[in-house]
């Protein structure tokens, strides 16, 4: 194999890896409110740390243990990520089918308070490439951060989770939405029930 061919192969592999990671991030976004927060933050942490094999080993089994069903679209996300990383097809096939997205009612309350954790998160979000907005809400007493935009959103998610953990939040809830449209009813409720802590100047420029 030539050097050029090897480089192309490496780029292809890297590209494929990122695609899988992006699919997994999207799937973990859609599972917000459906998997326990104690598990979800950990799966996102592993994804941010590059532990694809860990996600592939744990996520399908947790879906089965907890009888969490997936829509066809979500199942494609699972196969494109965990399936590509070595999850057993038998387990992937066993995940319950879901005819339509589950939309359990969740209540969020806006939280405009910029405490130390929020300030630290704000500094990180502002410095991360591609970010557009940062919102903060409370689901019960649980802080929920919602970020719009951001390159490599799984990495930003992991960083923000660690920040919140260091400030005492044992089950951090960080939703980094790479697209402007919230993917689920959970996120729509979170955004509508949140307080905006920051908006990128690019948004104002684009609006004008």
């Amino acid at each position: 194999m030539s050097a050029v061919g090897g480089r192309q192969q490496a780029e292809l592999a890297e590209s494929a890896g990122w695609v899988g990671t992006a699919l997994a991030h999207e799937l973990l976004l859609r599972l917000a409110g459906r998997l326990p927060g104690t598990l979800l933050w950990r799966l996102r942490e592993w994804l941010a740390a590059g532990g694809q094999s860990s996600v592939a080993a744990v996520l399908p089994r947790e879906l089965l243990r907890r009888r969490v069903g997936l829509t066809d679209e979500e199942r494609e996300l699972l196969i494109g990520s965990a399936g590509a990383w070595g999850a057993k097809p038998r387990l992937l096939d066993a995940v319950l089918p879901l005819p339509a997205p589950e939309e359990a009612p969740v209540l969020f309350a806006p939280d405009p308070v910029l405490d130390a954790a929020a300030l630290t998160a704000l500094a990180i979000v502002k410095s991360h490439p591609g970010t557009l907005e940062l919102h903060q809400a409370r689901r019960g007493g649980q802080r929920v951060l919602v970020v719009f935009g951001g390159d490599a959103p799984w990495l930003l998610t992991g960083t923000l989770q660690r920040i919140l953990r260091a400030h005492g939040d044992r089950t951090p809830c960080v939703e980094v939405l790479p697209n402007p449209d919230p993917p689920t009813a959970y996120h729509r409720a979170a955004v509508s029930g949140s307080a905006a802590l920051w908006r990128s100047p690019r948004l104002a420029t684009a609006a004008s």
Binding site: R42, E45, W46, A49, G51, S53, S54, A87, Q161, G168
Partner: protein, 413 residues
């Protein structure tokens, strides 16, 4: 005999975040060993946490036996020597709520165990919670409740009180990891608990403990005759002065002062049936280990308090005591009689630096034939069984009497 997965989780303490360890112990307690191993292995693999070869091999074997989906051998980072040294302190500003929560523990959980509290100053895992992290050390007898069950129950009870504390259940007679040895050294006894129902005699201690006992015994065949009869049960919570750095095992350390956890409470209720041979002088300093590390003016009288028996301490007490410099009392206390807990040379350790240089007298005193000093003597290589081992206590009236009583009680239980 504890669950082998529980033993493995003990060896992983300090390498994973405490929440995951608690979750894993809960799963083991309810029989979900495979699930526990799946989460633990996945977390270690994702974080690329290097493990000492024996621990890694043990985890790989356990994961394979549990048939988890993750190929542990391929996913885990390559084995590497242990380079992480956790630091602990015996006290912290948040002592009061933790002690209060311990006092609220159901009696059923406090029966037959001994408790110590320490505060870890170093992070564990890639996403740690705020520091210092409280760690509750629970010693249980070898025939006591399963460690994983006790860890789960105590942790859940503490969480119900609003206190998230890492619970490490250590079994008498079992080897200690360097993590737990360091935690024990800088810990405060919470001795408002019952004495252990039973302790493992040294001849029954397995693996590393027995091996180290034999090694030390052979290296000190010329032990003084007065120590020849000191074959005491292994006391897991008999800790010595703080020693932040492990040092190579040396015979001189075996004669140092040792003190079992909860001795003060045991002294207060010494039974008449204790053998005469155990009538040693009381401890020269009733100050808990942690407090002995604090500055204290020479000659000032110290009142020993039990955090679980006394009213909830005022946080200012520690500050005052620290400022008073009263920690030095032990150095001026009268030397104990033969076989007392204080080492030859009679000086209790000072603050942390005191461990660097042993007293000459102690250095010349070998340990007895039945007394092995390995707990803090520094052979901290993480072997398959553990990083270090326990000691067999040298002569101590308090501990001995307690042990006799414990054994007699265990005979009826």
């Amino acid at each position: 005999m504890d669950d082998p997965i529980h033993e493995l989780l003990l060896r992983l303490a300090g390498r994973l975040d405490d929440d995951l360890l608690a979750d894993a112990r809960e799963l083991v307690a309810v029989g979900e060993d495979g699930h526990a191993l799946e989460l633990v292995t996945a977390a270690l693999a994702a974080d690329a946490t290097p493990l000492p070869p024996p621990v890694r091999a043990e985890l790989v074997n356990a994961a394979a036996a549990a048939r988890i989906d993750l190929d542990a051998d391929a996913a885990l980072a390559p084995a590497a020597p242990d380079t992480t040294a956790h630091r602990f302190s015996a006290t912290a500003d948040a002592d009061v709520p933790v002690v209060a929560a311990v006092r609220e523990l159901p009696n059923r959980l406090r029966e037959g165990v001994r408790l110590r509290l320490t505060w870890r100053q170093t992070p564990a895992g890639p996403a740690p919670t705020p520091l210092p992290q409280p760690v509750l050390l629970v010693e249980t007898a070898a025939d006591g409740r399963p460690g994983e069950v006790l860890a789960y129950q105590v942790g859940a009870a503490m969480a119900r009180s609003g206190v998230h504390v890492a619970v490490e259940v250590l079994t008498s007679g079992r080897p200690l990891t360097s993590y737990h040895a360091a935690a024990l050294r800088d810990s405060t006894p919470l001795s408002g608990d019952a004495p252990l129902r039973a302790a493992s005699p040294p001849e029954r201690v397995e693996s590393v403990v027995a091996e180290v006992v034999q090694q030390v015994t052979e290296s000190h065949r010329n032990a003084p005759p007065e120590d020849a009869h000191d074959e005491r049960p292994v006391d897991l919570f008999a800790v010595d002065e703080p020693a932040p750095r492990p040092v190579p095992m040396r015979g001189w350390q075996s004669g140092r002062r040792r003190r079992g956890f909860g001795e003060q409470a045991a002294e207060a209720e010494v039974d008449d049936d204790l053998p005469e041979a155990d009538e040693h002088e009381p401890l020269p300093s009733p100050v808990p280990l942690a407090r002995r590390t604090r500055p204290r003016p020479v000659g000032e009288v110290v009142e020993q308090s039990d955090a679980l028996l006394d009213p909830i301490p005022n946080e200012g007490t520690w500050t005052d005591e620290w400022a008073s410099g009263d920690w030095a009392l032990a150095e001026d206390a009268p030397p104990p009689g033969p076989g007392g807990l204080t080492a030859a040379g009679g000086s209790a350790p000072g603050p942390h630096g005191a461990t660097a240089a042993p007293s000459p007298a102690a250095a010349t005193r070998p340990c007895s034939s039945g007394a092995a000093s390995c707990f803090e003597d520094g052979d901290y290589q993480h072997t398959a069984a553990s990083a270090c081992a326990l000691r067999v206590l040298p002569g101590s009236g308090t501990i001995s009497g307690k042990s006799h009583r414990s054994q007699s009680r265990s005979g009826h239980s």
